[in-house]
């Protein structure tokens, strides 16, 4: 059940009606059942896996809190082992197997298994692990009610593609639940609509060009075609993921939950460091708190800092998918972060926002997307050689695609400068209604409706 389908909106409407029409004591059960139903519509065979991880981590949390330090560590390792074991098996087994096979001089399918990746496993295992580590560190009390914990893991607005919510953020809302205010509801409706517009009118339109290009790179020779194809993918992945996140945050607000921001106009960044403060912020935060800092962060000298940055980004890249392309994408960003840090040592002031720094950062991000989107390393090389070695060819962007991108840039720039969304929320109801109608109109005219294109991050 994709967020951009009629079925999902009917499902959401039913959940909202049941939720608010029920006595308060029943509401979390309604959310829990709804979340399992939502997950089950994808593939109900994986519900036992979700339940297993829930039981393991719930029990581990309770045991860690009650046990002595030695046993606490044991339970932590066991819990992390189970989470990483499941994630490793489902997500990375075939990747490892194919590499081992190639090293052994065998066909890449020699050790391969027919493994289906359970939807959202990368997100919910990271969420579980953050909970267990927080309990171990004493930053989070173990949850007593298994229903509460199960809901934390499978809450349907963010189950399949985040944002990765910290336990204390979620339980603050769950355990001290308050009905949403008028402002919450208004924001929720707007965020859902904006998210839908990002997905259907922007991401899916740019997806057509990106798919056309990456579907057959050889058929579109030349730098102009390559840059336009990669640009389109850059647009697609941002609007797709940010759109999903906006919808998740919006629908959570309608249910009285508050999720953290996940994107803050990343393509307006003036450096790669700035980019990562704006892109997939919940993952960046997770990687910082549970990987970069435990590795030593920047506390043990320059070389160690660069190494930690590199390792964090390499693993961050691998988190996205089991292929060398994602590893290279992570490594590329790790290297850029390290280089920026190195250059930063010789600068007196932080990087200022200029058109040149913005364009340069955007171009660097686009180059990174080549590895993210390409089928394999061969195709990555093929695209890069066109981008940098062939200045001929024709752009694949139509004029109105360019217009869409400029429209998005204008809206983002106005938001960055004037915070229009916050102002909008204080405007009279009639003005908000007209603004909402304009967003609906954009979906009506530009939204791809003939097929519901799945969200890119669902594959992770």
């Amino acid at each position: 059940m994709l967020f951009n389908t009629v079925q999902f909106f009917l499902f959401l409407a039913a959940v909202l009606v049941l939720f608010y029409a029920s006595p308060r004591g029943f509401r979390k059960y309604i959310l829990l059942v709804a979340s399992y139903v939502f997950y089950g519509t994808w593939n109900w065979h994986f519900i036992p896996l979700l339940l297993t991880l829930t039981v393991v981590d719930y029990t581990a949390g309770r045991l860690i809190e009650k046990s002595d330090p030695r046993r606490r560590k044991l339970f932590l390792i066991l819990s992390l082992g189970v989470n990483l074991g499941f994630l490793g098996f489902f997500k990375y087994y075939n990747f490892l197997a194919s590499n081992v096979s190639l090293l052994a001089g065998k066909p890449s399918t020699w050790l391969a298994l027919n493994v289906i990746l359970p939807l959202g496993i990368s997100f919910h295992t990271f969420q579980s692990m953050s909970y267990i580590v927080d309990v171990y560190r004493g930053e989070q009390e173990a949850i007593l009610d298994p229903v509460d914990y199960a809901l934390f893991i499978c809450f349907f607005p963010q189950l399949v593609a985040g944002p990765i919510v910290r336990a204390r953020e979620f339980f603050k809302d769950l355990l001290h639940w308050q009905p949403p205010t008028a402002d919450d509801i208004s924001r929720g409706i707007f965020q859902m609509t904006i998210g839908l517009a990002k997905k259907m009118a922007f991401a899916d339109q740019f997806a057509k060009i990106a798919n056309l290009y990456f579907g057959n790179v050889a058929a579109h020779p030349g730098g102009a075609a390559a840059w336009s194809g990669v640009f389109s993918f850059g647009m697609q992945i941002y609007f797709d993921f940010a759109g999903y996140t906006d919808m998740a945050i919006g629908m959570a607000k309608l249910l009285g939950f508050h999720f953290p921001e996940n994107f803050r106009r990343p393509y307006l960044a003036c450096s790669i460091t700035d980019f990562w403060h704006r892109w997939h912020m919940s993952l960046s935060r997770w990687l910082r708190d549970y990987l970069y800092i435990p590795l030593g962060g920047n506390r043990h000298g320059r070389v160690s800092t660069y190494r930690n940055l590199m390792l964090t980004m390499l693993l961050g890249g691998l988190w996205h998918g089991a292929s060398w392309n994602f590893v290279i994408w992570g490594g590329y960003h790790g290297a850029l972060l390290a280089i920026e840090r190195l250059i930063g040592r010789f600068r007196r002031q932080p990087v200022r926002w200029t058109v040149a720094s913005w364009l340069f950062t955007f171009a660097l991000a686009l180059v990174g997307w080549v590895f993210f989107r390409a089928e394999d390393l061969h195709q990555s090389r093929q695209v890069l050689s066109q981008m940098f070695g062939n200045w001929h060819g024709h752009t694949l962007l139509t004029r109105w695609h360019t217009g869409l991108a400029l429209l998005a840039l204008a809206v983002a720039a106005i938001e960055e400068k004037f915070d229009w969304f916050e102002h909008l929320m204080t405007w009279p109801l009639a003005v908000r209604a007209v603004t909402l109608a304009l967003i609906f109109f954009v979906i009506e005219v530009f939204g791809v409706t003939d097929v519901a294109i799945p969200f890119v991050y669902f594959q992770f």
Partner: protein, 395 residues
């Protein structure tokens, strides 16, 4: 201390009044936004400028061009006009039909469009003839007076929302939507009928790609369409050599048959019979019935003609047809049925360009026969009739 999780949802809610107010405000926001969307959509696509910018070759653009051309023709042609409707097989030449006007007294004007059916004709007629009195007759061309269901159902043809998007009223929506058999089609129809931007999506995107080019083409089409259609000359290809063994459905294609000819012969002419479900009869009763109802108390007659059925005629015994809606209509006071055999002389391979359509020679002969048959059914023209000395389009 561990908060008691159950107490959160069990604790007293925020004041009920404020919660209700929040939801009331949200509902109002949504209702106002949807109303504003409908207004905006209507302003841009229904009464606004966009209708005049539609791609002339698109379904919606063709509908607008035909509608405009025929509205103008009503002013030019006087009182003895006959409007004809049909799909691409109703391919007579109005200029050839006009040549016999001095003898018949009636002008035939083509208001049909390729790919349309009675549902589209109804919406076209409603705007073309709002008072249901401007024509002496409305001719509806069908393949068969009996109802034969085919694999593809007219009722499920969503093109109506593209053809007639700008002309659908809010009050049309329930009937139009429910006239589609499947829920998927109903949803599509509802969405496009309610919000015309959906129906025009591809057109708008193409327009935005090069607005000056579109404007120039629209201008060209607006000026030239009546002449292009009047002067149109169809293909001279034939199907000579075509034979079909109906016991085995084995087709002997004409020598040098084109892929298009093979496709239309295989999929339309030599198609296997489909199960007879009654869907065609229901569709005809509904939409042709609505057209007949519009002209119930009018001077305008509704005439049904059976088109030349094909280069080779499908035997009657292939299907046991269960009903004949059009023959039933003939009992109604204002409805006339053309002689079923009036065009049988055209059912020859040398008069067809493919499995469905007549060629230039076929169309030319059909034009004259059609005019004569309509005149025979209508009788002498109005007493004040005078032949137009020079046909407006011949100038």
């Amino acid at each position: 201390m561990q908060p008691d999780s159950s107490s959160a949802f069990d604790s007293p809610a925020a004041p009920t009044g404020s919660g209700l107010r929040a939801f009331r405000e949200a509902a109002l926001l949504l209702i106002l936004a949807l109303a504003a969307l409908l207004v905006l959509d209507g302003l841009v696509f229904r009464i606004g400028p966009y209708k005049k910018l539609l791609e002339p070759d698109s379904t919606a653009g063709q509908f607008e061009l035909v509608l405009r051309r025929e509205q103008e023709a009503q002013r030019e042609y006087g009182d003895n006009l006959v409007a004809t409707f049909g799909d691409s097989r109703m391919s007579y030449y109005p200029r050839e039909a006009a040549k016999v006007e001095p003898q018949t007294g009636y002008y035939l004007r083509q208001a049909g469009l390729a790919g349309t059916n009675a549902r589209v004709w109804y919406y076209m007629l409603r705007d073309l003839d709002p008072t249901a009195s401007r024509y002496r007759a409305i001719v509806l061309a069908v393949n068969d007076f009996d109802d034969e269901d085919q694999a593809y159902q007219d009722a499920d043809d969503l093109r109506v929302v593209h053809y007639a998007a700008a002309h659908l009223r809010l009050s049309d929506i329930p009937e139009l939507v429910l006239s589609f058999p499947s829920w998927t089609s109903r949803w599509e129809a509802l969405r496009s009928a309610l919000l015309k931007g959906y129906a025009y999506q591809a057109d708008i995107q193409e327009f935005l790609d090069n607005p000056p080019k579109r404007r120039a083409y629209v201008q060209l089409a607006n000026g030239g369409y009546p002449h292009w259609t009047w002067d149109f000359v169809d293909s001279t290809k034939t199907l000579e050599g075509l034979a079909i063994d109906w016991s085995t459905f084995k087709v002997t294609f004409p020598p040098n048959a084109t892929p298009d000819q093979i496709d239309t012969i295989t999929n339309f002419l030599a198609r296997r019979p489909a199960p007879q479900t009654g869907a065609m009869a229901a569709f005809r009763r509904h939409w042709m019935g609505k057209i007949i109802d519009r002209y119930r108390n009018s001077r305008t007659k509704v005439i049904f003609i059976r088109l030349p059925r094909g280069a080779v005629v499908r035997p009657d015994n292939l299907v046991k047809k269960q009903s004949a809606t059009i023959r039933d209509f003939a009992r109604l006071p204002n409805v006339l049925l053309a002689n079923e055999h009036a065009f049988e002389e055209l059912e020859h391979p040398e008069l067809f360009k493919d499995g469905l359509h007549m060629n230039d020679k076929g169309n030319t002969r059909f034009s004259v026969l059609l005019s004569q048959e309509v005149a025979r059914l209508l009788g002498p023209p109005a007493p004040n009739w005078q032949a137009l000395p020079d046909h407006p389009r011949d100038k």
